[in-house]
Symmetry: C2
Subunit: 286 residues, 2 copies
Amino acid sequence: MNEVNARGQTLEEFLAAYDETQYRRPSNTVDMILMTISGGSLKILLVKRKDHPFIHDWALPGGFINFDEDMETAVQRELAEETNITDHTYFKQLYTFGNADRDPRTRIITTAYLSMTPEENIRNTAAGDDAEETGWFTISKITVHTGDEGRESVIRMDLPEKNIHMIYDVTDSVRSNYVETRSVLNPDSNARLACDHIKAINMAMDQLQHRAASTGILFNMLPEEFTLRQAQTVYEAIIGRTTDTGNFRRDIRKMLKATGKKCATGGKAAELFRFNPLYSFLEEKI
Amino acid sequence: MNEVNARGQTLEEFLAAYDETQYRRPSNTVDMILMTISGGSLKILLVKRKDHPFIHDWALPGGFINFDEDMETAVQRELAEETNITDHTYFKQLYTFGNADRDPRTRIITTAYLSMTPEENIRNTAAGDDAEETGWFTISKITVHTGDEGRESVIRMDLPEKNIHMIYDVTDSVRSNYVETRSVLNPDSNARLACDHIKAINMAMDQLQHRAASTGILFNMLPEEFTLRQAQTVYEAIIGRTTDTGNFRRDIRKMLKATGKKCATGGKAAELFRFNPLYSFLEEKI
DNA sequence: CTAATAGTGTCTGTTAGACACTATCTA
DNA sequence: TAGATAGTGTCTAACAGACACTATTAG
């Protein structure tokens, strides 16, 4: 069909006349929250900025979306650049941050993605063009108090080998029909995050903690075959507290299938399992 | 502090030299999924496009984000333009769609917001510059089958007074570590949605149905004071099926406070309630 | 044997679904 | 009174938290 508009233009004529240069436009970037488990702790990749703005602050890895590039392609490209991960790694869009004044260079709208990978997939994490250095920080979010009026939590990011500590106090306050979240840098910190990156990290931790028990999200940080103890360690690193071994095993086994193989590590040989993706991965959608 | 970068620039010098015109940039828009309840049915506002591209297709209301405008401000401006809603109406960011080829004009990255309001807040819904007409379509998402390998659902959007029907068959298929969602227009339809708008609508229905029972989200479509029967009607319109009255009342009362007032409508006078925002609105965050 | 790790069984209080029932209003 | 709408009580199966217990390996 060769439909015309009110000015008598066909689609082809309309597109030929379309002027995209009449308005000033924002720039679009993707930021990645890349997590893994190492030494029983949850880790996040951060890069130290070597240029303005936010010079010398720690930031989420990310970069500009090319004009002709799908957003997911940009994420995969950045993942490969930052970590040499080329296999298909799990990632999921988290949120888009677009306050007009969030970056002093120009209007920058950024979409944050949450990504996870088993430790052995990470081959290198070279500092890119924009980074002085990179570091896998241990990260935890501990909820100190939950009540009717809100919640108080603490997010810690530590790089012990360089003695870097960032601590943010996060409060969620119940308002009339929404929840207001504020994050402030705790004075015991000796470094800080660039821009509004703490907001994305906070959302990522909420998502991880919320979904850890009911979805298969934690298996993205485990190798193909793993023991129940390994799974529990990852689970506990995510939720930031220990959990009952019996109950954990009882509940997680419905998501798994046994391999029949064993793996000995100093005590009784442990059975190896795989994730069974047929187990209600649909929760993932929400 | 007057930190300098590797080229010896202060922040001020860096910003003065920053050239934002060196790359071609996407355009950014917001799209709104505006829902209400009317006549016991869930309704969504759609506009019929009167220009290319997607001429004569039905689309989500939305528009460009001004260069100096926060995204939330853009949403509120569009809401006011489309419906004359000025009071603070609930809205929540859903997802950002940014495939490189989703719009033939230029690269357009759009962020979809889910918004709800009680019917009486909607004063007019005039067709704007881009719209031939607007319509409040009844909308439902019914899940036909759920199994280990995925889920099949049907989304219906109907405007009975103009005899317009749009039906989409939606399948969620479990893959190795993610869920693939596909939506196809059912041939019984006599109209269709523009662009990729069915994706945003599908996500909105998932969110609504998922959160309807556990959060206070449904109260955004009710007046300040309401009866339990009204609340149940809204709940059933969202989830697309009836539910047990006794169980619904038992479970919802923890989110409410009684007003002591009554409201008679043909049978026994019903008690009026208000939403108690102190009841775990935190779920909302996830 | 001990220490270390892996793994099981069971009690109990809470919750979600099913369903039968009672109460108050108008005409 | 009937018909309509509002509202309650109770049984049961499933589930989640707490916790005490057994099993297999290395040295």
